[in-house]
C-alpha cells in the first residue's frame, strides 16, 4: 500500500518537469513583451530594462528555467509581474475559493448523479429514465457560463432567493483563515451566520459547475448498473431470495460505482482547470480569474504556477481515486 503511494508520488516529478518545460516554451513562443506590458504605457526604455533585470527576464531562457526550478525546490513559484507579489502567496489566497467551488460541485454531482444512475438503470426504458436522459443531454451540451447566467436570472433576479455573486456579503466579516474554505472556516469559528451566508453564495456557482459532471456520472452509473445487473451473482442473489431493493442498493451499487470512479477523478481535474467562466459570471475570486488576468497580461509566472498546482492536484485526485478502487474492489487491493 505505502509502496504504491510512494511510487505514484514519484510520478509527480516527471509531471512537474514536463509541465514547467512546456509552460516555459510557450512563454517564449508567445508574441509581445510582457515586461513592457507590466511597466505600463508611459515607461521609458530604461525603466523597462530595469524591470526586466529586476525579474531576471534579461537572462537567457534556460538560465531563467534553472532559477525557477531551484526556487521551486524551496516552494518559491516566482513573482508576478502584475501584482508584484510572490505567486505562491497569490495561489494560497485564490486556490481555496476554487477548491471549495469544485468540491461543492463534485459533491452535488456524486450525491445526485450516482443514485439517479441506479434508479434510471432499474427503470430503464420507462418515462423517468427517458426524462433523465433528455435532461442529461441538455446538461452536458449547455455551456456552463450560460447555465450560470440562467441560474442568476432565475434564482437571483426573479425569485431573489440567492445572491448574484461573490463569496460573502460585504457586511459579513469573514472567519479567520484556517483552510480557506469559507464554509469550513466559519464552522470552525462557530459563526453560523457566516456559514449560511457562504453556503447561499456557494449554491448557484456550484450547481452551474455540477450539472455536466452530474449528467456524465449519471449516464456512466446507469450503463455500469445495467451491466452489473446481468452478472451471474445478481441472479444468484435473486435465486436465494434477497429482496430486490437490497440487491440494487447494496450489491449492484458497489460493483457499479467502481466503473464510475474513473470519471469522477477525471472530472475533478477538468473542473479545476475549467472554473474560469463560472468564476467570471459569479464574480468568484478564485484561481481561474487569477490565471485569466495573468494570461491576458502575459504574466507568465502565475500562469506556470497555476498550471503546476492544477497538474499536481489532478495527479493527487487520481491517486485518491485509485486508492478508493481498492476500498471498493478488494481484488485491486490485494494484487
Amino acid at each position: 500500500m505505502l509502496h504504491f503511494i510512494l511510487r505514484r508520488l514519484l510520478l509527480l516529478i516527471p509531471v512537474i518537469v514536463g509541465l514547467t518545460i512546456i509552460m516555459f516554451a510557450i512563454a517564449r513562443l508567445l508574441p509581445g513583451d510582457p515586461v513592457a506590458l507590466a511597466a505600463g504605457p508611459n515607461a521609458t526604455q530604461a525603466e523597462i530594462a530595469a524591470l526586466a533585470v529586476e525579474y531576471g527576464l534579461d537572462k537567457p531562457i534556460w538560465v531563467q528555467y534553472g532559477t525557477y526550478v531551484s526556487g521551486l525546490v524551496h516552494g518559491d513559484l516566482g513573482t508576478s509581474l502584475l501584482t508584484r507579489r510572490p505567486v505562491a502567496a497569490d495561489i494560497k489566497a485564490y486556490l481555496p475559493a476554487t477548491l471549495e467551488l469544485v468540491f461543492a460541485a463534485m459533491f452535488i454531482a456524486v450525491v445526485v448523479g450516482i443514485p439517479l444512475g441506479l434508479v434510471t438503470a432499474v427503470w430503464r426504458n420507462r418515462w423517468p429514465d427517458y426524462l433523465a436522459q433528455v435532461g442529461a443531454i441538455g446538461a452536458i451540451s449547455m455551456p456552463r457560463f450560460f447555465l450560470g447566467l440562467l441560474l442568476q436570472l432565475c434564482f437571483a433576479m426573479w425569485l431573489m432567493w440567492l445572491p448574484l455573486g461573490g463569496r460573502l456579503p460585504i457586511v459579513v466579516i469573514p472567519p479567520r483563515f484556517v483552510t480557506g474554505f469559507l464554509t469550513i472556516d466559519s464552522l470552525i469559528a462557530g459563526n453560523w451566520n457566516a456559514f449560511f451566508m457562504s453556503l447561499r453564495h456557494l449554491a448557484l456557482p456550484a450547481i452551474a459547475m455540477s450539472l455536466s459532471p452530474l449528467a456524465t456520472i449519471m449516464r456512466m452509473m446507469r450503463a455500469s448498473t445495467i451491466e452489473v445487473m446481468q452478472q451471474d451473482y445478481v441472479m444468484t442473489a435473486r435465486a436465494l431470495g434477497l429482496p430486490s431493493r437490497k440487491i440494487i442498493t447494496k450489491y449492484v451499487a458497489r460493483n457499479a460505482v467502481s466503473a464510475t470512479l474513473t470519471v469522477i477523478g477525471l472530472y475533478f481535474g477538468w473542473l479545476l482547470g475549467g472554473t474560469v467562466l463560472v468564476e467570471t459570471v459569479f464574480d468568484w475570486p478564485g484561481l481561474g480569474l487569477y490565471a485569466t488576468k495573468a494570461i491576458v497580461s502575459q504574466d507568465m509566472m502565475p500562469v506556470i504556477g497555476v498550471a503546476l498546482v492544477i497538474g499536481l492536484l489532478f495527479v493527487f485526485a487520481n491517486l485518491v481515486i485509485d486508492l478508493l478502487y481498492g476500498v471498493i474492489n478488494p481484488k485491486v487491493r490485494y494484487s
Binding site: 452478472q231 451471474d232 451473482y233 441472479m235 444468484t236 442473489a237 435473486r238 435465486a239 436465494l240 431470495g241 434477497l242 429482496p243 430486490s244 437490497k246 447494496k250 450489491y251 458497489r254 460493483n255 467502481s258 471498493i328 474492489n329 478488494p330 481484488k331 490485494y334
Partner: protein, 345 residues
C-alpha cells in the same frame, strides 16, 4: 397419498425471439419427492435449465411465456404467485446452485456478508432458520446469522470456517467457491434444491466431492433435488431418478438403475452408446446423426423422429404419450414395448 414436494404438470413454455416464437418446453411432467435426487439430462438447448429456472420463476416473462401447465410446490401453484410471494419462497423453500462458481459470488463482498444477508432474508419469512427471535435487535440478528453462516461453511467442508467468513471470493479455489455457494443455497433450509450443472466448471476430482456433498445434504436436510446436467456419469453417480430431455420433452424417466440399465427410448440409447467404455474399440464410438430440431418450426409428432432409426409414419402423426414400461419407468415412444426386439435384430 401424500402431496409430492414438487410436481410439474404438462408445462408449456414459449419463448419470443426475433425469428419467431419457439416452443421450448412442450409438456413437461416431473414429480420430485423429498429424499429423491432427480437428474435432468439432455443436450444443450433441450430446455433442462429452463425447467429449473421456471421452478424458481427466474426466467423473465417476457420473453418467456407460460402457455399451459402448473408447477406445484407442496400443492401450491408457483405460476399463480405474485413476484413478492415468489421472492419469499426463494432461498427459503427453493434453493439454487448454478454452474460457474467463479461468477456467482459477488467479488466485492466478503463471503460472510453474502451468507448473512441470505440467512437474514430467509429468516424473515421463516424464523426457524436461525435461533434468534425475529424481534431481536439488528445487531443480535446479524450476530446469529453470522454464527449460522460459520456453521454452514463448516458443514460443507470448508476448513477453518469462522476465519474464512471474512475472506473475499477470489481468495477461494473453484471447488471451495462452489462449496460456499452450496452453503448459501442451504442456509435458508430449502425443501427443494435446484442445482444447474453444479460441477461442469470443476475438475473431476472436485466434481466427485461436490456431488458427494449434495448427496449428503439431501439426507441431512430432507430435501428433494433437481440436478441439471448433460453428463450421464454424474447422474449414475449421484441421482436416484433421472429424466432424459430432448427438444423440450421428457422422453424417458424413472429410477436411475432402470433407465441407465435398461434404456428404452432411442434417444436415451443413443446417449448411452455415445459414452466410451473400457470395451469400446478405437473408432467404434457411435455418435447420433443429425442435429437438434428448430423449435420455432418443430417437426410434427415426436420431435426425435427425424433422427430416429426406428421411426414409422405414425411417429410424425402425433406426439407420443408417455407409457409405463416398468416400475415408475416411463417412455414417450409409440414403439417402446417392441424396442427390445427391434434392437436385437
Amino acid at each position: 397419498m401424500t402431496v409430492p414436494l414438487l410436481s410439474i404438470r404438462d408445462l408449456h413454455l414459449r419463448m419470443s425471439s426475433f425469428d419467431g416464437r419457439a416452443h421450448v418446453l412442450n409438456g413437461i411432467n416431473l414429480t420430485v419427492n423429498r429424499g429423491e435426487i432427480w437428474g435432468l439430462v439432455g443436450e444443450s438447448g433441450c430446455g433442462k435449465s429452463l425447467t429449473g429456472l421456471s421452478v424458481s420463476r427466474l426466467q423473465p416473462t417476457p420473453p418467456a411465456h407460460y402457455t399451459a401447465g402448473e408447477i406445484l410446490l407442496d400443492g401450491q401453484d408457483l405460476l399463480k404467485l405474485s413476484p413478492a410471494q415468489m421472492q419469499r419462497l426463494r432461498g427459503n423453500r427453493i434453493g439454487m446452485i448454478f454452474q460457474d462458481p467463479t461468477t456467482n459470488l459477488n467479488p466485492a463482498f466478503r463471503i460472510g456478508e453474502q451468507l448473512v444477508d441470505v440467512a437474514l432474508a430467509a429468516a424473515q419469512h421463516d424464523p426457524a432458520v436461525m435461533d434468534c427471535p425475529p424481534n431481536a435487535s439488528r445487531h443480535a440478528r446479524r450476530q446469529a446469522a453470522r454464527k449460522l453462516a460459520g456453521e454452514m461453511l463448516a458443514r460443507v467442508g470448508i476448513p477453518n470456517a469462522l476465519a474464512r467468513l471474512d475472506d473475499y471470493p477470489h481468495q477461494f479455489s473453484g471447488g471451495m467457491r462452489q462449496r460456499v455457494l452450496i452453503a448459501m443455497a442451504l442456509i435458508g433450509r430449502p425443501d427443494l434444491l435446484i442445482a444447474d450443472e453444479p460441477t461442469t466448471a470443476l475438475d473431476v476430482s472436485v466434481q466427485a466431492q461436490i456431488l458427494e456433498l449434495i448427496k449428503n445434504s439431501v439426507k441431512d436436510f430432507d430435501m428433494g433435488v433437481v440436478l441439471i446436467t448433460h453428463n450421464l456419469g454424474v447422474v449414475a453417480q449421484t441421482c436416484s431418478h433421472v429424466a432424459v430431455m430432448y427438444a423440450g420433452n421428457i422422453v424417458e424417466s424413472g429410477p436411475v438403475a432402470a433407465v441407465i440399465g435398461n434404456p428404452v427410448h432411442p434417444y436415451t440409447r443413443a446417449l448411452m452408446s455415445a459414452i466410451p467404455t473400457r470395451e469400446t474399440k478405437r473408432g467404434a464410438l457411435r455418435g447420433l446423426a443429425g442435429s437438434v430440431p428448430n423449435l420455432i418450426v418443430p417437426p410434427p409428432g415426436c420431435r426425435f423422429a427425424p433422427r430416429c432409426q426406428f421411426a414409422l409414419p405414425a411417429c410424425v402423426a402425433a406426439m407420443p404419450a408417455s407409457v409405463p414400461v416398468g416400475d415408475s419407468h416411463a417412455v414417450a415412444c409409440i414403439r417402446a414395448t417392441e424396442m427390445e426386439a427391434l434392437v436385437d435384430d
